[in-house]
């Protein structure tokens, strides 16, 4: 029999290093506002067939990937690096405050500049993003370098941070092109490589690394196969490196098709494995997080198939713009935003509840922080948003109702998260929670 407390190790101690609740929450509470803002430029489109090169679409995309997606992912990493990897981020409030301010300013200014073709907000936004995100990458990499945690999840987080670094460097270069800087060369391939590193490297590898932990933990499924955990992340990272060869040599052409096939195949395997594991979960309780994950993995599988079969689906060059946009809608709104929403409904109540326990506040229940009805309604609105966005590919005027539903969807997410933060604050101050709940609303 081990001695009392002998079960503690560095990972247990690392949980003691978890930042205050306010550190991740400032990112989580800001993110839905940017998703609402992303709907604004889309209200003006609809006369022309949509293309991902339209300024409104580029602006909306950057509001989403910077203001929503990266905002939540950076906030989550401030929590995950100590808890999952055992890394210590020094002075988390100060660093999170600086990174959050820079990310917020950059995520506002850059898309505005891209939409309005004004060089100043483009330069200011790109500078703020570069400073904030590079400071974050540096701090996170130092913390991970010193961390005791190892394994596939930690490895994927490392690769995703390197991918963020590459994405930011390429993004700054492309932003300078958009601003008309004479020192940089124009070229469309930079954008293709930038978006691959951002969506598949930064977001995808982090999603995969986190899924290895949270899917079996929260959804009571078997673990991901060990070989998949070991090789999937490095294969994706290697394929991204090959895909990037187009930046330096026009001779890379023959390598691009196999690299794209490997990327799409790897993502399809991940989505398929996740859906298979979820079908084998031990506890078959309806759960809004699981439903968001299923939407996310279904969208990822569909996006990957569209990529693999694009020559069959769209033999004419005219159909390619719509296909590229469909892939973007499925990857960003269908997959990444859905999974992020689902995870927020698990992480925020869990952190709120845990912080109250650590503060010695008794009697709080995790399910009181998010109303089950509110989360379910947001799930329905998110499904509708994704479907309506896809409809705009065939019916451009549908962009207006799609944008309005999309904004309502994330306004509801904002309300649900604010309600959780409010309940936490009331509990911390000694109340029992101001929001009354229906007796049957106990599950997420």
């Amino acid at each position: 029999m081990p001695e009392p407390g002998s079960g503690m190790n560095s990972m247990a101690l690392s949980f003691q290093n978890a930042p205050p609740f306010s550190v991740p929450m400032r990112f989580f509470l800001t993110a839905p506002l940017f998703a609402i803002l992303a709907a604004v430029p889309l209200l003006g489109v609809g006369e022309l067939p949509l293309s991902r090169w339209q300024p409104a679409v580029i602006a909306a995309t950057h509001f989403l990937v910077l203001g929503f997606m990266t905002m939540v992912m950076v906030g989550a990493l401030f929590q995950l690096i100590p808890v999952l990897c055992g890394g210590v981020i020094p002075r988390p409030r100060l660093i999170a405050g600086c990174v959050h301010a820079a990310l917020t300013a950059g995520a506002l200014l850059l898309p505005f500049g891209l939409f309005s073709h004004q060089p100043f907000p483009i330069y200011a936004g790109a500078s703020a993003l570069a400073i904030g995100l590079l400071v974050f990458v540096l701090v996170a990499c130092v913390a991970l370098h010193r961390a005791p945690g190892r394994g596939p999840s930690v490895g994927n987080i490392r690769l995703s941070l390197i991918s963020l670094f590459v994405t930011v460097c390429l993004g700054v270069y492309i932003a300078a092109q958009h601003a008309g800087n004479p020192w940089v060369q124009a070229g469309v391939h930079g954008a293709e490589v930038h978006l691959a590193w951002g969506l598949i490297g930064w977001a995808g590898l982090l999603l995969i690394g986190v899924a290895y932990q949270v899917v079996p933990m929260f959804q009571i499924t078997p673990a991901y196969p060990a070989s998949l955990q070991r090789y999937l992340g490095p294969v994706i990272f290697g394929a991204l490196l090959v895909w990037s060869a187009q930046l330096v040599t026009p001779l890379a052409g023959p390598l691009l098709e196999p690299a794209a096939t490997v990327l799409a195949g790897a993502l399809l395997i991940f989505a398929g494995t996740t859906l298979w594991l979820q079908s084998r979960r031990r506890r078959r309780v309806a759960d809004v997080t699981l439903a968001f994950w299923r939407l996310g993995m279904g969208s990822l599988a569909l996006a990957s198939l569209l990529w693999l079969l694009r020559d069959l689906i769209a033999p004419s060059a005219a159909a390619f713009p719509a296909l590229g946009l469909a892939w973007g809608i499925l990857a960003i709104a269908g997959c990444l935003q859905a999974v992020i929403c689902g995870m927020l409904y698990k992480i925020v109540p869990f952190l709120a509840w845990l912080q109250l326990q650590q503060a010695g506040v008794k009697g709080a229940k995790m399910h009181e922080f998010i109303a089950a009805g509110g989360a379910q309604w947001q799930l329905r609105l998110h499904w509708l948003s994704v479907l309506l966005l896809l409809v705009t590919l065939a019916w451009p005027r549908g962009a207006v109702p799609a944008a309005l539903i999309f904004a309502a969807n994330f306004a509801l997410l904002q309300y649900n998260l604010l309600r959780a933060a409010h309940t936490w604050l009331v509990r911390l101050r000694g109340g029992t929670g101001l929001v009354q709940r229906a007796p049957n609303s106990g599950h997420l």
Binding site: M1, P2, E3, P4, G5, S6, G7, M8, M11, A12, S14, F15, Q16, M217, F218, Q219, I220, R282, R283, F350, W353, L354, Q357, Q358, G360, K365, M366
Partner: protein, 87 residues
């Protein structure tokens, strides 16, 4: 589990933080001389600082199929510690 002084709790099919909620609730009604024997699917790291903060001692060992047995007792309860050693 019918061992003297041992109360059994299986949380291996529950999602976080339900295991922790149930464990903390069970500990509140732990009788003198009694030890809580928890069957868990994972190593519940966030639980341990809370146990220490509330005056409980614990021990953990692997359990087959993949899982862990965690024994928890009041740190000042010698009889419960003895029950945990024999569990």
């Amino acid at each position: 589990m019918n061992m003297t002084g041992i109360r059994a709790l299986d949380v291996s099919a529950l999602a976080p933080p339900e295991p922790m909620e149930r464990i903390l609730a069970a500990l509140e009604s732990l009788a003198p001389g009694e030890c809580l024997r928890v069957l868990h699917r994972r190593e519940p790291w966030p639980l341990f600082p809370l146990l220490e903060q509330r005056g409980f001692a614990h021990a953990m060992r692997p359990y087959d199929p993949p899982g862990f047995v965690i024994l928890i007792w009041r740190a000042d309860d010698g009889k419960a510690a003895e029950a945990a050693r024999n569990a």
